[in-house]
Amino acid sequence: MASAHDAERMGIKPHWEPEDVIGKMTLSTLLFSNDYRHIAIKGMLTSVVMLGLGGLMAMLFRTELALPGIQILDARPYMSLMTLHGMFMVFGFIIPFVVSIMYYMMPKILGTEQLLWARGAQWSYWLLIAAAILLVISRPDFTWTFYPPMSLRVGGDLIWMGYIAVVLVAISEFIAGAVLLKNGLAAGRRIGWKKLPLMGWGAISEGILLAASTPILALVGIFMYTDWAQITAVYDPGRGGDVMTFMFMFWFYGHPAVYLPLMPAVAILYTLLPRFLGRPIWSYWSAVTAFALLTMLAFIVYPHHFQPAENVSGMLQRSVQILTLAIFIPSTLHVFNWIATLWSDPIPASARRAVPFKFIIASIFFLMVGGVTAYVNAQIAVDSDYVHNTYFVPAHFHAMFVGFMANMAMAGIYYLYPYFTGRMYNQALGNAHFWLWQIGIFTKVTMMYYLGFNYFPRWVVDYLDLPQWSIPQLILTGGAYLIGLGFIVFVINIMLSATRGATVVGDPWAVDGEEAADGAKPVPAE
């Protein structure tokens, strides 16, 4: 089945020696070093902090939503927390996390040895930090989609910082896209397109998405600021502007934004699965085709976020529906490829024990749970019936963002952990983290789907005491607490294991049956 190029382009051999990279880092290297490992470690650790902050916000408003009535938060602080939660999780956690993992993996896997344009990655990081600080100061309370004219009428005197933050996020992501594109294209030219590892195709796809969509986001941020300052009236209908202009511009970025963490997560999965199984992916070209189709479709289906509308109707609406339904095809090709790879030969015991492998399997599971409902979301008739702006939408994207992408981010960091600490994580704590997350995520997503089916509205601090709403909300909050507990276990694990974990030499992920080089100590048996 596998072609002659497979072993080369699938990268089934280890690329690094376990080393205490993080222990040798100084404050100076942590902050300013352009070494790819330092930039990537800084990005991953910052993302973990962002996950902690965003998660803490979620715990607070989840506690508020556990019961009908006002418990601990009024409407305005609730909406500020929810807005910041969305922005921290998307812009601060999941996108930078998976991109940082790519920064770590690309130089060795693509054979460039160094991250090309590493200075750009450095700038991208610091611009994002500046954006996060401005966001917190501005305390926006208009959700991450900040629809005008509502968003122009709320917020305090410092809300303009939020719009500047949007521009900074756009510039930061544009630069990150340029870095990924540069590395992917350079590797393709050097290695040859038929031999380019799938990580390279992932980098090119992600680079195109970032570089093409973020300039529009920057424009949106600028116009929001100038409209707010009453310099222009691009979006404000009260002064002659047009809301639909905002809709088309924002979602031109907003829909690809959903794919920004997805593409790296898929690329990481294609990189790690062969490592744990010791065999190539079932179909290289199926994966490349799926990457290309997803990248193209990401840019043209965005009106489904606000249809039906007066100017999204007729053939445009029909075309958007067909193309949105068609996204089902490349997404499912990826899943088909992974399952075919898993099924083709026995799964080594070493893989079954490894915590990152478990997170990979959970990711595939949740990609199906989240992805399959896209078939419903895409249909205009069902969208007009119960999907639009009910909990069905966050159910879909939490299954994708948390169930697939965050799980893959965890697979990536557990995989890299022995390479940058020289030590192995604690297996029992890793397993505890895994199960707390999977039970929590499944509970949360299932309850969100159920609530959506019962027309529970998004973005509400309080709700009617109806049994079809209040009971699932209580269970949902329980699921969120499990995810929070799992995160605490994860943080304890990576902190303690960095000094107390078993020292690793050789290949920490040696496949059972293969000779572990230099007396390597693979994942400890359970």
């Binding site: 409407a75 909406m79 309370d141 959700t143 629809y147 004219p149 509502m150 709320v154 209908p237 809301v243 079932w282 199926s286 606000f306 039906p308 509308a309 007066e310 029909r318 529906q321 067909i322 339904l325 068609a326 089902f328 095809i329 499912t332 090709l333 088909f336 399952i339 075919a340 898993l342 099924w343 083709s344 030969d345 026995p346 599971f365 199906m368 749970v369 399959v372 409902t373 078939y375 419903v376 895409a378 249909q379 205009i380 008739a381 069902v382 007009s384 019936d385 119960y386 639009h388 702006n389 009910t390 027309y455 509205p457 998004r458 973005w459 509400v460 601090v461 309080d462 009617l464 109806l466």
Partner: protein
């Protein structure tokens, strides 16, 4: 009751398709993980699989479009609001203009009587809601009627429902975040009838 889009059967069909596809996918994943038998799939399997997906796309688009167009047809006839107002000959038994604002609804009937936060209809009536707003983007949702709509300031959006047959109060709510009072932006669809009858559900 009759669902506004007539989706009861269609919606169920789509959810069954979703559950079947999900069950097959999860079944295949678990089989790949736990079955002792290994299966090296030929590449031809993927072409068959893509063919099935294309059929799913075709079916989803076809059925969705048919149902949506059937729902839209009475709304898109020329002069629908004018004929609607003449309930004797119009498409609809009742026409209600709905002004959505931060944070509530005002319902204006055919005699220009304004009701704050309650739309009063008769059981089983075919009711046209003409939605508009002047401040920000709002949503309009009647869970019992299975209809959602989003409309921006300055635009008019028409939706219709078949009112529940059972007298009672049915929830109307905003589904699009419109400011800090969004969660309180609710109203009631009041279906008139014999007081001895059971109350409808929210």
């Amino acid at each position: 009751m009759e669902n506004a889009l007539g989706l009861a059967g269609y919606q169920s069909t789509m959810m069954i398709i979703v559950f079947v596809v999900l069950a097959l996918g999860i079944g295949a994943l678990f089989a790949a993980l736990f079955l002792p038998t290994r299966w090296r799939l030929p590449y031809s399997m993927e072409f068959l699989f893509v063919g099935l997906l294309v059929v799913m796309v075709w079916y989803g688009d076809k059925r969705s479009t048919e149902i949506f167009e059937a729902y839209q047809a009475p709304l898109e006839e020329e002069g629908v609001l004018e004929t609607g107002y003449n309930t004797a000959s119009g498409e609809f038994d009742r026409v209600i203009r709905v002004l959505a604002f931060q944070w509530g609804f005002a319902f204006i009937d055919e005699e220009d009587t304004i009701s704050r936060n309650a739309a009063v209809v008769e059981p089983g009536e075919k009711v046209l809601f003409s939605l508009f707003a002047n401040d920000v983007i709002h949503g309009f949702n009647i869970p019992a009627a299975g209809i959602t709509a989003e409309f921006e300031p300055g635009a008019e959006r028409n939706v219709w429902i078949r009112a529940p047959a059972k007298p009672g109060k049915y929830l109307i709510q905003c589904l699009n975040y419109c400011g800090v009072g969004h969660s309180q932006m609710k109203a009631w669809l009041v279906v008139q009838g014999d007081e001895d009858n059971e109350q409808g559900e929210a």
